[in-house]
């Protein structure tokens, strides 16, 4: 019983736990930025007047969104990096970090895209018609009229996508980049699996995800479009 509440491995090795979470934060921040950019490009493709772009966007989103993340990451590291021999860096840890980020972003961007597309659907049709009637091109109206309103309505769902992405970093180990969850496994091997170690890591993830949720909730309220 005493081992259930023995928190000493957590306190004695907190720098190791922090190192794991540093890797998680690195993955999450860069993937968040990349998937936001890629998601915006994807949604522009999906609502564009060009059928080829629309079809490509739809195809990509449906394939990626319905493939398990583990497979996407394995594809990115084992197939693209190891087998095809495409390297971003000679240092393995940097190299696999980027392939982890690429896989995670490629996957998360489809969810960003779909959230944004639902936001575009909330923008009244009259807005787009008005934009066209004053002579704005498709790109201009998307950039200046549609997307700014769409973004503001989907801040809360984007927050959920981001939280899901932070938790999804735990499978990046299959892309050979160790983050918090892999560090937890290593500690399990060193000190035996125990509830305190598990709680320490669970708490670490809460520290990352809870404020994210609160921040996006607050932002969504503040930026809501008054209609």
């Amino acid at each position: 019983m005493d081992q259930l509440f023995d928190f000493s491995p957590v306190f004695d090795h907190h720098e190791k736990i922090l190192e794991g979470f540093e890797a998680t934060v690195r993955l999450a921040v860069v993937s968040a930025v990349l998937s936001l950019i890629l998601g915006t490009i994807l949604v522009a493709m999906r609502v564009s007047p060009t059928p080829v772009l629309r079809a490509t966007g739809t195809f990509y989103v449906n394939v990626m969104r319905n493939t398990p993340l583990t497979l996407v990451l394995l594809l990115s590291s084992l197939c693209v990096s190891d087998t095809l021999g495409i390297l971003v860096s000679d240092d393995p840890r940097t190299n696999y970090y980027w392939f982890g980020v690429f896989g995670l972003s490629a996957y998360t961007s489809t969810f960003v895209c779909e959230a944004l597309r639902s936001g575009i659907n909330t923008v009244p049709l009259g807005q787009a018609e008005a934009a066209r009637s004053i002579g704005l091109t498709f790109t201009q109206s998307l950039r200046m009229i549609i997307l700014p309103q769409a973004f503001r309505t989907v801040i809360a769902p984007l927050g959920s996508v981001l939280i899901a992405m932070i938790k999804n970093t735990t499978v990046v180990i299959v892309a050979s980049y160790a983050e918090a969850a892999a560090f937890m496994k290593e500690m399990f091997d060193d000190y035996g699996a125990s509830i305190p170690i598990f709680l320490g890591f669970a708490l670490g993830f809460m520290v990352l995800t809870l404020p994210t949720g609160f921040f996006f909730g607050w932002l969504a309220k503040r930026m809501a479009v008054a209609r």
Partner: protein, 290 residues
């Protein structure tokens, strides 16, 4: 109407869950806990043994549901000596991180799963044996002429499998490590993934216990070689719930008999012949039951 139906269904599910929970509870409390595993095995002719399911030549679950490997054969022999026929053995997967909790909670009676006897584990587990002394070694591609001994690993890409600290013995010095060679570690989720990466050339070497490496080398014949430069002793013990000395003594007796009647030699040769590994066929020095 719909709502009421859903509520009824939910209540039924909750009831069913509650019933099953009660069932398993009474099973656990109904068993007599203070009895030693050896005593229980003799009385009930049943034993639960934790093994690895994914370690070729040591503990492997085959697609047809049977188990094979050196660890499983040793477990079968020990079970037989404890008075349990093969049909009375219940196999359970004990992954590295599960071994201590499984023993502590009594979910398994014995663990025979490449379980090294270490000082850190001794306060939590009673170890019988060792039944074999393995050594940490290094495996490279068969056409690799550069890495001939462990010290050649400097600046080479070395696999770091999640949930295993074997890499530390190379990259770090004492107390956690041994060789203190600056190799570049590459993370992987398991040793099978390490082996896949080694094959594709993304890695230069995989280091862990020689029996595990030999198992992989045997599985994909002609692709890899073990360099035969051992640098640690890994005492593979049989994990028993802390304090169960009676079972520990009984297992030690079984292990001694396994070596004296030649079974150990037969088993080792059956699983590891042809890998170029030097096999020890004399009974190892026991650590003593504590």
């Amino acid at each position: 109407m719909r709502v009421r139906q859903i509520a009824a269904a939910a209540a039924a599910v909750a009831l069913a869950l509650g019933l099953t929970a009660c069932g398993s509870d009474s099973e656990v409390t109904g068993g007599d806990a203070p009895k030693s595993v050896a005593q229980k095995a003799k009385d009930t002719k049943k034993i639960v043994i934790g093994i690895k399911f994914d370690q070729p030549a040591l503990g492997l679950k085959k697609p047809d549901g049977t188990y094979e490997g050196f660890d499983t054969d040793v477990a079968r022999y020990i079970a037989k000596e404890l008075g349990v026929p093969e049909s009375g053995i219940e196999w359970k997967e004990a992954r590295s991180e599960n071994r201590e909790p499984f023993l502590q909670a009594g979910q398994v009676d014995l663990v025979v799963a490449t379980y090294s006897i270490t000082e850190a584990r001794k306060p939590k587990v009673t170890f019988a044996g060792p039944y074999y002394v393995a050594h940490q070694d290094t495996m490279v591609r068969v056409d690799d002429d550069v890495i001939k001994k462990a010290t050649d690993l400097k600046d080479k890409k070395l696999c770091k499998a999640a949930g295993s600290n074997s890499y530390k013995r190379v990259t770090e010095g004492p107390p956690d490590g041994k060789l203190n060679i600056p190799a570049k570690t590459v993370d992987a989720s398991s040793y099978s993934e390490c082996v896949a990466k080694l094959k594709s050339g993304a890695l230069d070497a995989v280091t862990t216990d020689d029996l595990i490496l030999a198992g992989f080398a045997n599985q994909q014949k002609g692709a890899f070689k073990v360099i035969n430069d051992p640098f640690t002793d890994e005492l593979y013990g049989v994990g028993i719930k802390k304090g169960d000395k009676e079972t520990c003594e009984a297992v030690n007796k079984a292990v001694t008999k396994m070596y004296s009647d030649g079974t150990a030699k037969t088993l080792l040769e059956k699983h590891f012949a042809g890998t170029g590994l030097k096999l020890a066929t004399t009974v190892p020095q026991f650590v003593g039951c504590t």
